[in-house]
Subunit: 187 residues, 2 copies
């Protein structure tokens, strides 16, 4: 059983090194990305959408050329466990989602995702075992057409120097940078 | 010259494999994260802030345990080329930023960041060479105290099944998932 171009063991090793631990979501995520890549329409360049910021973006970053820093991965805050890969020119692509009907057949995975058991009562060996056994069998795939414009990151554009902090920032943000306009997370 | 625990050559190899190309921002970002990590206050666990989504998040993800998927990296849309690492308990940390005064001493890097030259007139060998030569010398460091609560990702919380799409989503989002409430990027 391979995940992307990796063996299962190689993928687990990568996940631990990048994400810190073999979270169940990274394992399901690995199978999701694998399934999406195997069902991509023809075309050379694709972008990715994760419909949750939890776990799934790291599976995409490990298995595809799409990362947060290169802008080819967009993360949406729907809290749905789903990933889409699509051609950035015409928007044609595939979406893979965790299928609630299929999930029911795997008791511990179902308990975990729907939070039917307190975390300290979960059997993590059983959970990981069920996800590994299921592979693509927890997932469903649908063709999608994405509106790429709705997901485009605004370009940096002309750069200005903020008169308050002295740092460079996108001139389109106004007379000061967003941090000096009150957005700063620093006390 | 090392970047994190890597040699310069190892880091360049990693960047090309993960990010797709040796973008100038990934090289400056490598030195930024390196400088921040060498100046961290005592403490075992730290989170990261990137003040721009462009390039910099990938340097953080490659050089620290913080990723988008594990939630330890937050990306802010200030468009400032700056990174902060901070203790997630008490908020104490360091911030490293691209210093406009220091940048002036490196003509091609200055031209690149402030967009003083059309992209097709840039000398990318000179640009990368100047950034490599400069290393930490383009950067300044300041102590910061972060308000960790302001950056906390909302927990998934109880999971509901959306009556429209049939998928799991955070019950706190309302009677339907955010996608079925009109946020969908799919046509």
């Amino acid at each position: 059983m391979n995940i992307g171009t990796y063996t299962y063991e190689e993928y687990v090793h990568l996940v631990k090194s990048f994400h810190g631990s073999l979270a169940p979501g990274l394992l399901i995520g690995g199978f999701m990305v694998d399934m999406a890549m195997k069902n991509l329409p023809e075309g050379e360049f694709f972008d990715a959408i994760c419909e949750t910021p939890a776990c799934l973006p790291d599976a995409v970053q490990l298995l595809t050329p799409c990362t947060i820093g290169n802008g080819w991965l967009k993360v949406l805050d729907f809290g749905r466990f789903a990933v889409a890969l699509y051609d950035k020119e015409n928007g044609q692509g595939v979406r893979v989602f965790l299928d609630m009907k299929k999930l029911k057949r795997y008791s511990e995975a179902n308990n975990w995702f729907l939070k039917l058991k307190p975390k300290n009562e979960q059997d993590s060996t059983l959970l990981i075992g069920q996800i590994k056994e299921a592979g693509h069998d927890l997932l469903s795939l649908q063709p999608v057409r994405v509106d790429p414009k709705s997901l485009q990151r605004e370009k940096m554009g002309p750069v200005a120097i903020c008169p308050a902090c002295g740092e460079g920032y996108p001139a389109r943000h106004g007379e000061r940078c967003h941090s000096c306009q009150g957005g700063s997370p620093y006390l």
